[in-house]
């Protein structure tokens, strides 16, 4: 029986394993050095804040693995021998595979800052990172977080829930400036400040200063300001966690290089998820996409290929979501931080300054290209249909109510949004009523 060995029990590895089991009878082994069972690392913050226990973050009960004959192995893989098709484990034994899946994930970026390896200097990615945060929290009065992205905000929220003050250093002139357009960045920046975070823009980390015991006691910024702190969060993105793969014959760049079938340069070795980098992305998206759902989609795809139904990875329209303290964010299609030459946009913001909708469309054809929404939930399927179907901005505005996904009784803003659109564009149409037939139409 063919033995498929999967390194990494995150969403990518586990999805692959589950779908291989659905499709075949192969022997499956999943190796992880992190935890015994699959858990949702997106929920690490909730464990720290007391919203959940570790147990609650496991999407499957512990009996699930045995029942589905997925062997779980708690071990650290030291190296890969692609000729002999074996893995060397940290307990000194070798494990043979017929097919190898690398789903090893990422690690927080460190950009060579002096002091970056001190105690109480870390990112938030693994379960061990969470344990370390727990360990240092009781002795932390102020934490400095470096890098304005999603994990940074999560870390800030976590510390604030324990009454720990947070200083947030952001290189750009607004929050998440590399991704969010100016007004959205400002909206979120205001919200973060409302939560009493000491948010500092255009401030870069120079150095982390150690106390006598090798623990961070302050940071020094590029302009020479020293900020006393007992914890430094490094949240300036993540990069593939592939040190041991680099020593093997498997070809890597920033990540493990794969083609559209998630195959590496070595036969029977595959890579997916955070650690996989496309030579050229099959649908023109970024070559490295470190988000939850792409790991899941790749896992579903790869399982087909491994089970002799060779399937190319086709993730379709880009989408994503996040939550910044109390404000939810969803995006569908592409809204870049700066408009491209061919793009025009429509931006509406509620008077509260905490809700907005941003639509980007093609100047020439008026076709919708992307949606950013803050504080309004939108329907994935409807947005996808609009963007993939090349609907015009006018059509989208007219049918905006179809996309609302907020809970019942929530205040709806479509009339207001369309009024503003009409004002800006000299038009005078009214939004159509929500229509179930349109919403649930088969694509």
């Amino acid at each position: 029986m063919e033995h498929v060995v999967i390194i990494g029990n995150g969403v990518s590895g586990i999805t692959t394993a589950r779908h291989i089991r659905k499709l075949s009878d192969k022997k499956i082994t999943v190796i992880s050095a992190e935890t015994d069972h699959f858990f949702s690392r997106t929920a690490l913050m909730y464990i720290y804040m007391g919203h959940m226990k570790y147990e609650n973050t496991k999407p499957y009960e512990d009996w699930f693995w045995k029942k589905n004959r997925i062997n779980l192995l708690r071990a650290f893989v030291q190296n890969i021998n692609t000729e002999k098709k074996t893995l060397r484990l940290d307990n000194g034994t070798d494990l043979a595979y017929d097919k190898l899946v690398l789903a090893v994930g990422s690690k927080p970026n460190k950009f060579g800052w002096p002091g970056q390896d001190l105690d109480a200097v870390q990112g938030l990615y693994s379960y061990q990172d969470l344990e370390a945060m727990e360990k240092y929290s009781p002795t932390t009065k102020r934490a400095v977080i470096v890098g304005g992205g999603l994990i940074g905000v999560e870390m800030a929220e976590m510390f604030l829930s324990r009454g720990i003050a947070v200083t947030f250093l952001v290189r750009e002139n607004r929050f998440w400036g590399g991704v969010l357009p100016k007004r959205e960045g400002e909206l979120i920046s205001r919200h973060i400040k409302k939560h009493h975070v000491d948010l500092r823009f255009e401030t870069e980390l120079q150095e982390i200063i150690s106390d006598d015991n090798g623990r961070a006691k302050a940071v020094l910024t590029k302009i020479g300001e020293e900020i006393e702190c007992q914890f430094v969060g490094l949240t300036a993105g993540v990069s593939p966690n592939i040190t041991f793969v680099k020593e093997s014959t498997v070809k890597t760049n920033r990540g493990i290089l794969v083609n559209e079938f998630l195959e590496t340069n070595i036969p029977d070795v595959y890579a997916l998820g955070d650690c996989a980098e496309f030579h050229e992305h099959p649908t023109g998206r970024r070559n490295l996409e470190q988000v939850w759902y792409t790991g899941r989609m790749m896992g579903e795809t790869l399982a087909q290929t491994i089970c002799d139904k060779k399937t190319a990875y086709r993730p379709g329209m880009w989408f994503n979501s996040a939550k910044f303290f109390d404000i939810e964010y969803q995006t569908y299609g592409r809204v870049y931080n700066e408009l491209k030459d061919n793009e025009a946009d429509f931006y509406w913001e509620h008077e509260s300054g905490e809700i907005c909708l941003h639509l980007v469309y093609d100047k020439a054809s008026n076709r919708l290209l992307g949606i950013n929404t803050f504080g309004i939930r939108m329907r994935h399927e409807v947005c996808e249909r609009w963007i993939d179907g090349g609907e015009t901005i006018r059509f989208v505005m007219e049918h905006l109510k179809d996309a609302n996904f907020d809970p019942e009784f929530y205040k709806q803003y479509e009339n207001q949004i369309v009024r503003e659109y009409n004002k800006e564009n000299g038009t005078s149409f009214k939004p159509k009523k929500r229509d179930w037939k349109r919403i649930f139409a088969k694509n």
């Binding site: 949702s40 919203h51 993730p315 969803q330 329907r379």
Partner: protein
């Protein structure tokens, strides 16, 4: 703000202390007149009991425990003596008449059903206490302090918890919400309360008296333990509804739902029935549907409604229409939530007082399987009991298939009505979560669930591929539904147990879940998970 909160806590604890402390004060003196009236009202025929009680009880002073246990002791002694006589006479011929007469002298004092009806009126009539003398003051010192204190404790969170949003911080780090010491103490308190309420009201004559003035001004009758319970229920729900308003002020679904369910409790389950009594009509809760309201078809209830003119007849018809037509039709359009989390009193308490315990529900597959057996068995039990009751009512026979109808009713009343619904259902909030009764025991929920599962427009829609499997939805599902298992597959949630509280949707950080009523077509997604644009359907 913290200061106000602490003051509130102190006031609330003081109120509870007075309330509980009142159990232990006052003395009970049975006067000759009280005694005679009680013997008369109860129709006591046992001369053994009357003689011994005359000597040992009348004119003496007791506390509640002493008096109650004395009466029970004497009653049991007399019952034993009578039964001995019966045994002796059964050996002889021609003693049937004497035996029957002797049977009528036996006083039944089983703690689970008949004890309280026997002793409570005597204790209530013979108490002397400060509470009895100063009922308004007692009300203010107990209910007044507890309510004001509770509100003062809760409302500062409006500021303290920061901007509006989901704030479940430290819920899993507190002993009272994680089955720790705090939770166990709370559960013991709740369970004790229910035992006293259901089985030993004679011990809580003073607490009941604290609500006497309110009862007199509403129905004109002195307060019973059920009146006190109703008032506590409404007060607790009101205070904890304010907590919901603070916690979910950004979520209009929760705000409206909380308001509506509180309204139905206060108006329909409390004020209207009490006022009906004032106008000599039957006590009737218009929203309490059979089979949750399992006594609806009991002979005494049917007789009482039939003897109450047009209004009584309307109540009888409405009760049947409610269960047979209104409920399934509305469940078709809105899901069972319209009843379970918008109208029902049990649900109302679960969604207010019970909210801090919702995450304690068990999410395992094993318990889901258990749930499906037990809740439908209770429904069958309710159907059988009601069937037997109606058979007896119309045929006049007291038993069916050799089983006494009254016995079936008592079993149901004790095991389901009292132990399951009250003691376990509410008493175990801090252990089993806030919907143990609704999930495992409520026959009405079972009925509503069958309709919701097979013929309804209601579902929780999953928003495409946005789920990140974080597990907030499953964690906070009070019915123990593993919401995430559906959401991460892109499957809509269609489950008979879902009461539509809306909290999964509220706690989702990615906007994945929406409760909605939409066309039935496509409601259940059998083959979920679509890979990107090419839509490869996976089995």
């Amino acid at each position: 703000m913290k200061f106000i909160k602490n003051i509130g806590l102190i006031l609330c604890i003081t109120g509870f202390t007075f309330f509980i402390g009142s159990i232990f004060v006052g003395d009970y003196q049975v006067t000759q007149q009280t005694f005679d009236e009680w013997i008369n009202n109860k129709g006591v025929k046992s001369e053994i009991f009357i003689e011994s009680a005359q000597i040992e009880v009348v004119g003496k002073s007791f506390n509640s425990f002493q008096l109650s246990s004395k009466i029970i002791e004497l009653a049991e002694n007399s019952a034993e003596a009578h039964q001995n006589n019966i045994q002796l006479w059964q050996a002889e011929e021609g003693q049937e008449e004497r035996i029957n007469e002797e049977w009528s002298k036996v006083i039944w004092t089983s703690w689970s059903s008949t004890h309280k009806d026997f002793t409570y009126p005597l204790l209530q009539a013979s108490i002397n206490s400060h509470v009895k003398e100063n009922q308004w003051v007692a009300f203010l010192l107990t209910f007044g302090l507890a309510i004001i204190g509770g509100l003062l404790y809760i409302t500062p969170d409006f500021i303290l918890l920061g901007p509006a949003g989901i704030k479940n911080n430290k819920l899993f780090q507190h002993s009272s919400t994680t089955r720790g010491l705090g939770g166990i103490v709370t559960a013991v308190f709740f369970v004790t309360f229910y035992f006293l309420l259901y089985f030993f009201p004679d011990f809580i004559v003073n607490p009941i008296l604290t609500t006497n003035k309110i009862s007199l001004s509403l129905s004109g009758n002195p307060a019973s333990q059920w009146f006190m319970y109703g008032l506590i229920y409404c007060s607790v729900m009101t205070v904890f509804a304010v907590k919901m308003y603070v916690k979910y002020r950004h979520n209009l679904y929760q705000v409206i739902r909380t308001t509506v369910v509180l309204f139905f409790q206060v108006a329909f389950a409390f004020l209207i029935p009490e006022l009906l009594v004032r106008f000599n009509q039957p006590w009737y809760d218009f929203k309490n549907a059979w089979p949750l309201n399992y006594t609806f078809f009991f002979d005494w209830n049917i007789d009482s409604l039939l003897n109450s003119g047009h209004l009584g007849m309307f109540m009888l018809v409405w009760g049947i229409v409610l269960t047979a037509i209104v409920i399934p039709v509305v469940v078709y359009f809105l899901g069972k939530r319209w009843y379970c989390s918008w109208v029902c009193g049990c649900g109302g308490l679960a969604e207010t007082l019970g909210d801090p315990y919702r995450h304690l529900s068990n999410k395992t597959l094993k318990v889901w399987k258990f749930e499906r057996y037990i809740i439908h068995l209770v429904l069958v039990f309710a159907l059988v009991m009601t069937g037997a009751t109606l058979y007896s009512y119309f045929s006049g026979a007291t038993s069916i298939f050799g089983i006494d109808t009254y016995t079936i009713q008592s079993w149901y009343g004790f095991w389901i009505g009292s132990i399951f619904a009250g003691v376990i259902g509410t008493g175990f909030y801090p252990i089993l979560g806030n919907r143990a009764w609704c999930r495992f025991g409520c026959p009405l929920a079972a009925y509503l669930g069958l309709v919701q599962r097979f013929k309804s427009r209601f579902r929780i829609t999953t928003n495409g591929g946005q789920c990140i499997s974080c597990g907030n939805c499953s964690t906070y599902c009070e019915m123990g539904i593993d919401v995430r298992a559906y959401a991460q597959k892109g499957q809509n949630i269609v489950r008979s147990s879902c009461v539509g509280c809306g909290v999964c949707s509220a706690v989702c950080p990615r906007g994945v879940l929406k409760l909605e009523n939409a066309p039935e077509d496509g409601r259940i997604i059998d083959n979920p998970i679509l890979i990107g644009k090419d839509k490869i359907t996976l089995q």
